[in-house]
């Protein structure tokens, strides 16, 4: 059984933490997540017991660090079902997508080629591609969404409409509307049309089982901090032959076999992408986060998200003044507005009640054309979110009072 009290006891941020003098209700997990003691202890272990660089010393501490990095890489590979050498450490999802853009797309795209994305994508899966188009003369194309979703059909149609698509890049689960795409079928369509498929897993990998090999995507990116891990670490998982063909992005120590006046011979992937000292404490924390998620089980985490989603929607959908933009998403994200209330004002009112949500466009700045509103409030759950927290959230949405209470009733 899903022991929510036990789970919550694992997180220091859930122990009597207050905001605005009220018990904290943290519902901004699509932005970042809390860390359990085990992750914090793993990070501390680096500084307290391990502190050495990896792959550049002849002493035991250094060797031990190499072992730790390899153990983390293996843990991630097992978690996501990839080969160990298909896991590239990055600073997070954003750097991962930039690595595909600059390491793969820059070399392989030319004038007239096309990159396909959707208007609901996060900035990290839009702006690197814009830059590649500027540099190569390639063209950005946008899916015709179906019910605000990137469907298999909409991707198929895009390949009929645009004849030179070389890269398709989509979020596995959208960060505003929370819809999951059919990544496996979309990957298959991309491949039969000669394109590669880049899957942004920032909002999916933390919340549900994701199988890199089964989906057969070419690249998968995600960040540790959205899955109970530390900030400043993430992954690009890529098919090994593609990684080997890619250019290096950052150059420097730790990524080359040798260099002389003639040039440089890079190491094999993934090392050739990991120039400079790695974020070692975070790599140890990342492994602890994965171990924590595996202990609970990704199926259970997904089920918990869906249960909370259904519970919250059932309580909210009968209130005419609450506009919900993704009632059928059944994921960890609900985007909404209160009629006549500006999103930021609502978020500030909720802050005054101790409830953390996010308002705005959530870095998906083209989505306002899709859902026809300049801003939304987004609440997002995670494995430690309780039904009681949903109750507090719903109660304050329905009977929260006037937005100016945030300034005058504290």
């Amino acid at each position: 059984m899903y022991d929510i009290d036990k789970i919550r006891s694992d997180f220091p941020m859930l122990q009597d933490k207050k905001m605005q003098g009220k018990p904290l209700v943290y519902l901004d997990n699509a932005s970042t997540t809390f860390k359990p003691y085990s992750v914090i202890n793993a990070i501390n272990k680096y500084y307290l017991e391990m502190n050495a660089n990896s792959h550049r010393g002849d002493y035991d501490l250094c060797y031990n660090m190499d072992v730790e990095v390899l153990l983390s890489r293996k843990a991630i590979a097992k978690f996501i079902n990839s080969e160990v050498n298909e896991v590239v450490f990055t600073s997070g999802d954003t750097e991962s997508l930039n690595l595909v853009a600059y390491g793969y797309a820059l070399d392989n795209l030319k004038k007239g080629d096309q990159i396909l994305i959707s208007e609901t994508e996060h900035a990290s899966n839009v702006l690197p591609w814009y830059r590649i188009c500027e540099l190569t003369g390639a063209e950005m194309c946008f899916l015709d969404l179906e019910n605000n979703r990137a469907t298999v059909n909409s991707v198929s149609n895009a390949f009929k409409k645009y004849k030179n698509i070389k890269i398709v890049a989509l979020a596995h689960v959208g960060n505003v509307l929370g819809y999951e795409i059919n990544a496996k079928e979309i990957a298959s369509i991309c491949h039969s049309n000669g394109a590669i498929f880049v899957l942004d897993g920032a909002q999916s990998v933390p919340h549900m089982p994701v199988d890199f090999k089964d989906l057969d995507v070419d690249f998968l990116s995600f960040s540790a901090h959205k899955m109970c891990g530390p900030t400043g670490i993430g992954c690009l998982v890529g098919k090994y032959d593609l990684l080997q063909k890619m250019s290096t992005f950052h150059s420097g120590g730790g990524m080359n076999v040798k260099f002389d006046k003639e040039g440089v011979i890079p190491l094999d992937a993934p090392a050739k992408f990991e120039a400079g000292t790695l974020n070692l404490s975070a790599i140890m924390g990342f492994r602890a986060a994965i171990e924590y998620l595996e202990k609970i089980g990704m199926d259970n985490i997904h089920k918990h998200d869906v249960e909370l989603f259904d519970y919250a929607i059932s309580k909210l959908e009968n209130h005419d003044n609450i506009i919900i933009y993704n009632k059928d998403a059944r994921s960890g994200i609900i985007s909404f507005n209160i009629k006549g209330v500006f999103a930021q004002d609502e978020a500030t009112l909720l802050n005054s009640k101790g409830i953390a949500v996010r308002s705005g466009q959530h870095c998906a700045k083209m989505i306002d054309d899709v859902i026809k509103t300049p801003a939304t409030v987004r609440m997002s759950t995670y494995l430690y979110t309780s039904k009681e927290e949903i109750d507090i959230f719903v109660e304050n949405l329905i009977n929260g009072g006037d937005i100016l209470d945030a300034y005058f009733f504290n």
Binding site: F342, Q344, D345, Q361, D402, I403, L404, A406
Partner: protein, 143 residues
């Protein structure tokens, strides 16, 4: 304006300026200086217009998208700017900034803007309450 405004009065003033911002329009004549302002953590996306002649602010208005706090604070700022000398206007902006950051301030010159005295309770919204004021400051400070 006395600082003894009740909470209810202050709320009414904010709501009045946000639901009916009389200075929210583009300028009708020439001679306006424009500053574009946007916020990283809010939707606020505003153009602020000031018309300055002979060392005095003749007119102030704005256009754009804004939350309740930025809308009302910018509208009130425009009201208060009109007719002030540059020196008076800059002094008022300075006192407003002090109020935002819970520092001692001269309430005599803030007039209706005193209604934002509680903004620091919602620190994430200080940017909203000052966005129009910062725009005016950037136009006036080098004059």
């Amino acid at each position: 304006m006395p600082i003894s405004l009740t909470n209810e009065m202050m709320r009414a003033i904010i709501m009045d300026h946000s639901s009916n911002p009389t200075n929210k329009h583009t300028p009708s004549g020439d001679g306006y200086e424009k500053v574009h302002m946007h916020s990283d953590n809010c939707i606020d996306d505003l153009d602020i217009y000031l018309k300055v002649e002979n060392g005095k602010v003749i007119d102030a208005c704005f256009e754009g998208i804004a939350c309740t706090i930025s809308l009302s604070s910018t509208d009130i700022m425009c009201d208060l700017m009109k007719g002030k000398t540059i020196k008076e206007a800059l002094y008022m902006i300075e006192q407003y900034q002090h109020m935002m950051h819970e520092e001692p301030f001269d309430d005599e010159v803030l007039d209706e803007a005193i209604v934002f005295v509680n903004t620091s309770k919602q620190a994430a919204r200080i940017r909203c309450a000052t966005i129009g004021w910062n725009a005016a400051n950037s136009i006036l400070k080098d004059k």
